[in-house]
Symmetry: C2
Subunit: 256 residues, 2 copies
């Protein structure tokens, strides 16, 4: 069983090896710039760790895992645009639109989204691409709530903006492995908890969202509660969930 950092290395290698559409021309450089900026790769690593814990073939799950990272990257590229959050830096480097201009950055986000779905469509089972598309749509709904300020219901906002792709990371691992739908529920409940945990910690780091609404101490207590629940859900799975426990800890104790 591979550790999380070994799975991450597999993801990095697979992302670098991706062949993009032959007609993208010079646009490909913008896709690779955003995709190879690093980041934690937590969604693809989660997908691979679920695959391994569920008894699946990690190599076979790599296109699905990369597809999740491409959707995430698409959302960052569009989020950073001046008409959205207007962020000129991402992961310590100039944002795509600063380097390539707003129009090319916009198109590179569009292309990342389509490439993600092409990766998900490399499987014979259309359920994999369907789940990714559904989660992406939920995420876009969350973005809409975020930029229009219709975020009174913080739980809904986070469930859509962050949780949907975390759930899909778990779901894609199960689907690639061929776990019967009837057995998905406890795995998916874990995915929802991990997404929530990720978001609360994010808010603690940034001092907004949950941290602002509840106060720092209460948000830290909530972090500990959700982390305990996520670990407990893993204990209830009949699976070797060591790497998933490791991921819960990494999410709980991250500081950036």
């Amino acid at each position: 069983m591979r550790r999380a950092d070994e799975l991450r290395e597999l993801v990095e290698t697979h992302l670098r090896s991706l062949l993009f559409g032959p007609e993208l021309g010079g646009l490909e450089a913008a896709l690779r710039y955003s995709l190879e900026a690093g980041g934690k790769r937590i969604r693809p690593v989660l997908c691979l760790a679920v695959t391994e814990a569920a008894g699946g073939d990690v190599e076979r799950a790599l296109p699905a895992a990369s597809a999740l990272e491409l959707v995430h990257t698409f959302s960052l590229v569009h989020d950073d645009l001046p008409s959205m959050d207007d962020d000129s830096e991402r992961r310590g480097r100039p944002s795509a639109h600063v380097v390539f201009g707003d129009g090319v950055a916009l198109l590179s986000g569009d292309a990342l989204l389509v490439e993600a779905l092409r990766l998900a469509l490399s499987y014979d089972d259309p359920a994999i691409a369907r789940e990714l598309a559904g989660a992406t749509l939920d995420m876009i709904g969350g973005q809409y709530r975020d930029i229009t300020g219709d975020d009174g219901d913080l739980e809904t906002l986070h469930r859509l903006k962050t949780g949907a792709l975390f759930s899909a990371s778990v779901g894609l691992g199960l689907l690639v492995t061929g776990v019967p739908d009837a057995e998905h529920e406890p795995w998916r409940a874990f995915g929802a908890d991990l997404g929530l945990l990720f978001q609360i910690v994010d808010d603690l780091i940034d001092g907004d969202g949950y941290a602002r609404r509840m106060g720092l101490e209460a948000a830290k207590e909530l972090t500990a509660d959700v982390a305990r629940r996520a670990h407990a859900r893993l204990d209830d799975l009949r699976a070797d969930a060591r790497v998933l426990h490791e991921i819960v800890d990494a999410v709980t104790f991250r500081t950036a």
Copy 2:
């Protein structure tokens, strides 16, 4: 056999009846605004006409046909953004970004693209969504060439920006009908000609592209040549291609 305007009415009804992702919230209004702005619906009508000529079930092809129109609409919404062509009007109405703001228009384009792929994924055969995704990627590559001025090769630019989705309109009709791949070629060659025809006429109407490069008279002659070739290709198909002939005429003689 239904006439083109009857097929178009089927498309309009189907587009109005689409159920979008339940979590899009208020964003749905922006999708419907752009989608229900009218337009010729030539891509979905072409898809349905190919389906009918190839002996398929037009009703069954409706999700694929609508998916093509959603991809086209996504491209228009993003094209009109200030960072792209900066068009404030589309089909005689204010562009999406004028009505909803740049950020919401951007997200509505993203959502239209994902909804298109969800429609294509409503079929069991993943080849349908694969073809749509491939054509969309080609189209994005064409957009990139267009906005960066890398359009020295007008044929490549048009093949990607316009032709790819016309070819997919034919391809999706064939795939939905279950026409064996080995029999696709003459249909697809017709689709490529129709896409080229559409573009030359577009350039004649706008006075740019082919019209500017070749001069008006030469571009009109090219229109007539390509239209003749498209009709001839239809004659060579062993199919009742009356509606497709009608579409060639409509494209050839349109003035807007």
